[in-house]
Every structure is written in structure tokens, then in C-alpha cells.
Subunit: 285 residues, 2 copies
């Protein structure tokens, strides 16, 4: 499908894509680009990539596809350099969790429409190439957010790769993607971080945490995610996150008022409605 694929950022997502694409025979050669020497060593040793490089250098000239799998702010800042280094036929895609600003930067860097903005909905608690798995994208959704500029055949070729590693393709407008994920992913992470920070900050916070059971433990996976990756997501998707947060703070204030007033009826109505929301979430393995 692609003779040579370059993966920039050999972490959980980039490493898993390299493993999966090789396993499925979708690529012949994979170059891994990563500033972290341990990432490079693990990626080589685990057979994810054929060769590694610390920076973009000249390594992209033979690539038929470049996948940007670094934190979202880095994707935006790398795009102009990638555009200078790849050949004319090379397609470029990304895996970032925020799409509007990345799509704008990608369209600016590739005015011929070769940039395909994407977001695979897959992840897990651990990060880095040591956590990579060839089956990470099986039964996952891969969201693609083409613009008016994006080349339809580029979308089709990149989609075929993601289909080949087991994902289902979902096409969405980039702005709506960012609103959706502000609500179902970015806000939950923000809320979990805030909760853990608040509990630790209470008098004798550490002592209290000794008694944490299921209720709090469910939040810890979320708040245990990579702080710098999430800082960038929060800053880059500022508008949609602030809108979702405003709605959340309104609900929280209403619950607080019901508790303060001892209003059991209002409380029951809200708790029952929240419980219903859960039924809307599709069950996946």
C-alpha cells in the first residue's frame, strides 16, 4: 500500500500503527523519528521500525506516507518542516485529538490537499512504545476530518491503511469533532485532574487518599495520563472545552444547590438523568 512509511513520534499510537501496518503487510519499510533515544531503541528492538532518526533530517525523502504521532502542539509546529522535506507524491496524516487547528495548519502547509487530518479513537493507560500493540486499532473508530481543500484520493488511501489495521472510518467536520471530543474526552480528563488535585489539597489529603476505594480509583486512570500531552490538548481546544466546562459547572452548581437546600426531589431527578446518559455509551471491548 505504501512502500515506505515514516512515523514521527514512536509512542503508543505511532508504535502500534507501525506494528499493525507491518503485520498486515500494508507497508514495506518503516522509519521511526523520535527525539527520545529510549523510544528509538525500543522501537528498533521490538521490530516496529526498520531504521530510526532523532529528527526529521533527510529521512522523509523516500516516504510515501508520513504519520505525525506527536502531541498536538508539536504536530502544528512540525507541519511546515515536513512539507519542505517530503517529495511531491507523499501523503501526510496525523493522529491528534484536536482537529480544527491541525487541519488549518496542514492545509496551509499542503495547499495541494495532501494532508489528511485523522484521529484514531484508541488508547490505554500506559504510554510509550513499550506499551504499543499491533491490535490497538482493531474495532476502533478512526475519525477523518477532511476540509474543502483535502484531496479525496488522499483521504481514500489513508483510510485504506486504517481499515487495514482494523479500524472503522468515520468522517466528521473538524469543528464538530472538536466539540464532541471536548465533551466526551477533554472535559472528563479535566474533571479527573481537578478532582485528584482538590482531594490532595484538602487538609490531610494524603491521609484521606489511603481510604480511596472504587469511586476515586476509577478517576485515577484518567488523571494518570501524560500531563504535557493533556496540557497541549486543553490549550489547543480551548474554545470547545470552555463551552463544555461552562455547561458542567452549571450542572455542578445545581447539584450543590439541591444538596444545600436538602432538595431530594431535584437531586433524584438529576442523578437519574445522569445514570441514563450512561446507557447511551456504546459498549466496546
Amino acid at each position: 500500500m505504501f512502500r515506505e512509511m515514516a512515523v514521527v513520534g514512536v509512542g503508543l499510537i505511532g508504535g502500534s500503527l507501525a506494528l499493525a501496518a507491518r503485520k498486515a503487510g500494508l507497508v514495506e519499510t518503516v522509519t521511526g523519528v523520535d527525539a527520545d533515544p529510549i523510544h528509538r531503541e525500543v522501537a528498533l528492538a521490538a521490530g516496529m521500525v526498520d531504521r530510526v532518526a532523532a529528527g526529521l533530517g533527510a529521512d522523509l525523502s523516500r516516504a510515501g506516507l508520513v504519520v505525525l504521532a506527536v502531541p498536538v502542539a508539536e504536530i502544528v509546529s512540525l507541519l511546515p518542516e515536513v512539507a519542505r522535506r517530503v517529495e511531491d507524491g507523499c501523503l501526510v496524516t496525523d493522529v491528534g485529538s484536536v482537529k480544527g487547528p491541525i487541519l488549518a495548519a496542514g492545509d496551509a502547509a499542503f495547499p495541494d490537499g495532501r494532508f489528511v487530518a485523522g484521529h484514531p479513537i484508541a488508547g490505554q493507560e500506559r504510554s510509550g512504545p513499550a506499551a504499543a500493540r499491533p491490535d490497538l486499532f482493531e474495532a476502533a473508530n478512526w475519525i477523518v476530518t477532511p476540509s474543502g481543500l483535502t484531496n479525496a484520493s488522499a483521504v481514500e488511501r489513508v483510510s485504506a491503511l486504517w481499515r487495514g489495521v482494523g479500524s472503522t472510518i468515520v468522517s466528521m467536520e473538524a469543528g464538530w469533532h472538536d466539540e464532541v471530543f471536548a465533551a466526551v474526552s477533554h472535559l472528563p480528563h479535566l474533571v479527573a485532574y481537578a478532582l485528584m488535585d482538590a482531594v490532595l489539597g484538602l487538609p490531610l489529603g494524603e491521609e484521606r487518599l489511603q481510604f480511596a476505594a472504587g469511586g476515586l480509583r476509577d478517576f485515577t486512570r484518567v488523571a494518570g495520563s501524560h500531563p504535557l500531552m493533556w496540557r497541549d490538548i486543553f490549550l489547543m481546544n480551548r474554545g470547545p472545552i470552555l463551552r463544555a466546562l461552562a455547561a458542567y459547572r452549571e450542572v455542578l452548581a445545581a447539584l450543590e444547590e439541591a444538596i444545600r437546600d436538602g432538595d431530594g426531589k431535584a437531586l433524584t431527578a438529576r442523578l437519574a438523568r445522569a445514570r441514563m446518559a450512561r446507557e447511551e455509551i456504546p459498549h466496546r471491548p
Copy 2:
């Protein structure tokens, strides 16, 4: 240890205690009291109890121990009736998640100090007797919150039962218990309910929920808990919950400000601190 134990409320906790105490040979006969005919039927059929009753009736006269395993508001309202129906030597304990108001009501109903306020830190997603398991309390903490009035030998006898089903006994002052669990259990539940309610309430909320992955799914177990049980906990532990909520809202406002101002440094500091809080939580199976 006790010839006859009466369990009022044969749900997950009451049913599991009945199963575990019988299995460990700590009780001879168990009476299950539950207003729900399905709970009574399941408890009898599963061999959790020897006989069942829909209400307190005369069934408590032979009991050496009465365990109140109903929602917290019901525990408080049942205590005076239990006091009228049991014999003088009978011990009474509870499993409620809020201890201050229950301890006060128990001391008022049993001025001779026979009421032992307790809280086993065990639970799971599903509720009801069908979810009960004899190993639910193995390696769990059982918190006891005696008052100045509580009879020390009553505490020792009830503690021996909980030790016998595998729990570790932790003694705490009731007011501190309620502050601790407001932070590590009640607030997380409130936050999870608020999040699910807020996301569902956004424009096209149901459609957004179709894209929920790990981040939000970790919240759903918590917000899936029994709404009426949690309503009562929120109302009964109002003071400590409102204090913990105030601290949480402060942290949330600071995070919001950092996002709005694009202050990456402040955001990183808070996210890293929140991540550290997670390391404080003990790992249990």
C-alpha cells in the same frame, strides 16, 4: 459467634455479609428482612438466609446481632423501632457510608452503648442480592466509629465478625470518617453524576456520547450507582460534601483560568500535581 443474626436489607452488602458469615461458620441462623419481595426470594433461594420477613415485626426477638444494611436515611429512621423490638443482650450495627448522624441516632436509641457504627469499604457496580458474594469483604477495610458511649465489648464482638469474613478493622472518629469519605467517595460520585448529566445536556448530547471512549467510560461505573442511595448520602453528609465541593470548584476555576489565559506553565503544574495524587492511592485487588 452469634446464634442468630438478622440482616435488615438483603442487598449487595447485607447479602454478602450473610453469605460470608455462614460460610465462615460465624452464625447459626440468619433472618433476612427486606421490603422487596424479589430480594427476599433471591436471598432464600441462594441460601443466604434461613427465613425472610418483609418488615421488622417480631422477628428480631431471637437475634443476637442486627445488621442494618439499608440506605443511610432508612438506617436513621429504623433505629428507634429496632430498639423497641430486640432483646436486651442484642447488639446492633450498620454498614452506612455516613457515620455522624447514624452514630447520634444509634446512641439515642441504645443509651447503654449496644449500637456499633460501622462501614465496610467494599462495593461493586451491580447492586442487590443477586450480586452478593461471600468474598466481598476479603482484604477490605471495615471502619468502626465508636462514640464515648459505645460499649467496648460490643465493638470487640462486632469487629470479630468482620475479621472473620476477612476484613481489617480500622477505628476512626465519626466526624473525620465523614470528612474523609466526602472527599474520596461522595465527591467523586457527585462529580461523575454532574459530568454525565452535563454531557447529555449539551446540544446533540446523545450523538456525542456515541464517541465516548476510555476517558468517559471510567466515569460511568461511578455515575451508574443507585441514584436513591446516593441522594441520601449526599443529603445526610451535606456539610463535609459541601466543603469538599468548594475546594474542588476552586481547583476547577483555576484550571479554567489557566486554559482561558493560555497559561501552559500553571496548567502543567496542576496536572502534574494531580497525577501525583494518584500515587498516594493504595493498590488493592
